[in-house]
Amino acid sequence: MRVDLDSLASFSHTGAKGGRRAAEALETLTGVPAHCELSRTTLVDADGLSSFLGDAATRIAVPFDGALAGRALVSFEKPFAARVAEETGTGDGALPEVANILTSGFVDGWAENTEGTIDVQPPEPVDVDDALVDDVAAADGAAFVFESRVALAGVDGTCRFAVLPAAEEFVDYLGDDGDLSADALAAYAQLTAHSADAVADHLAAMTGIDPDAVESHFDFVPVEDVPSLLDDAAYEGAVFESDGPVNTVLAVLFDEDESGAVADALVAREDPDEALAESAIAELGNVTASGVLDGWANALDATIDVSTPSHVRDDGRAVLDTVAAAYGRHADTVAVVDATVALSDDLTCRVCAFPSPEDADTVAEIATELSAGDADPEFPPEYDTGGDGA
């Protein structure tokens, strides 16, 4: 089985276009400047799927059928919902209609790529997550999700918009494209699950903290949306570059509610020496990054070297802005292995690995090997790092 990243990237273009149309429709309806801050096409396993489905209390489902069937789940954060209600002058009753307009804007992009039509049905309530997961899982519990987040000018919170093609119909739809299969989609979800497990294992070994939760997904993101994978809060961590069969930029970032919190939680230190703390955090990132990349190297029976880390303590979006610009010359869409490990209520580690778009075939090979189950991540791994962790 081979997996064609280019084909998946073409789905991502359609999703991004749908997100922009949804924002334009909302701006027209409300008169408030709107923009789509993130569109991504995501492969996620069953464990991580619920995080894309929104909060039941704020969720409206809009089914669609025809050339492609499925449903959109539109979740409104409170300030966003209040502003929409105010601007449309119809109160909360406007939200189902807004959900409908957003969904129509989105599926118009799909309809342009098909010969048939896609019909949007009236909005309906949905409140049971388990049933949703069963409905949309495409293969081995993995699901394909198109996610867009639309923001209104001057309004806190967003409208989160997840389009979930129905499993059976979507597999049929993929059947027309010889480059994709349900198994291929599941392979990418497994690649991310392996990588997230490696992150969790190495962080636990280094810090002695057992992770509370691990989530992972494989995203296809327009390069200009890459910064929006993180919020504009401060993060501390390290960014690496790998060299070998897959060139990858890999960011290991801890969200930091208060300056110094990451070092306090993770680094045993009696003397709060800032340089030592930076060095320790960089080393923690180094071991974590190496853990992910060793899993990939094992799958290929090859060696992947890791560069000296760049220590960062900055706005998360600015960190990824630099990664986006670095790849922007070469690609419109980039793949991201995205893992989140919650070490405690106050401390979360986010790992984003950006394989070079030029190495897409090798990433496909890794996904295939890992999904075959014959290349489990080695633990403890043998490190092969070029960096000194300083």
Binding site: H35, E224, D232, E241, V249, V319, L320, A324, A325, D332
Partner: protein
């Protein structure tokens, strides 16, 4: 519909033009640059958040690039009533946060491209804060020309 002053967000690889008391905001500038151009008399301004210095021909998404993005944004400002003889610019961003080989020195090249593109368009560059190794967010008020720069280590207004 809303009539009060609004704060509109400008995404990466995008620009937006506004007038009156509205402000334009873009966040998370790393190696990207923000180019703020305004005609204070007409209270018309635009903010570009560009990723790369020079557009290929043809450019599928002009706002991704400093040169083609600035061309598009200036044309939109002039259609909105800005006077080409009365516009001025401020420039922010182009930092070097990461020591990675891919996209090397992209921040410096973005700054150079912005200075060159503004000169080619006869738009004077009044102030800038560029380079360094920190991220920045920008809030731009076209009516005053003020550009507020937020970093993790402080705030400046140029």
């Amino acid at each position: 519909m809303s009539s009060e002053a609004q704060k509109a967000r400008v995404s990466v690889a995008d620009w937006r033009v506004t007038d009156g008391e509205d402000t334009l905001v873009t966040s998370g500038l790393g190696s990207c640059v923000a180019v703020a151009v305004y005609d204070a008399d007409a209270a018309v301004g635009g903010l570009l958040h560009a990723m790369l210095p020079a557009a290929p021909s043809p450019a599928e998404k002009p706002a991704k690039y400093v040169d083609s993005g600035l061309d598009e944004m200036l044309a939109a400002m002039y259609r909105r009533g800005a006077d080409p003889e009365n516009v001025a610019a401020k420039l922010v961003g182009g930092s070097a946060m990461l020591d990675i080989s891919v996209g090397e020195a992209i921040g410096d090249r973005n700054v150079d491209a912005a200075e060159r593109a503004l000169a080619d368009a006869d738009v004077p560059l009044l102030a800038s804060e560029t380079g360094g190794s920190t991220g920045r967010s920008v809030t731009f008020s076209p009516a005053s020309g003020d550009v507020r720069i937020d970093r993790v280590d402080g705030v400046d207004v140029i």
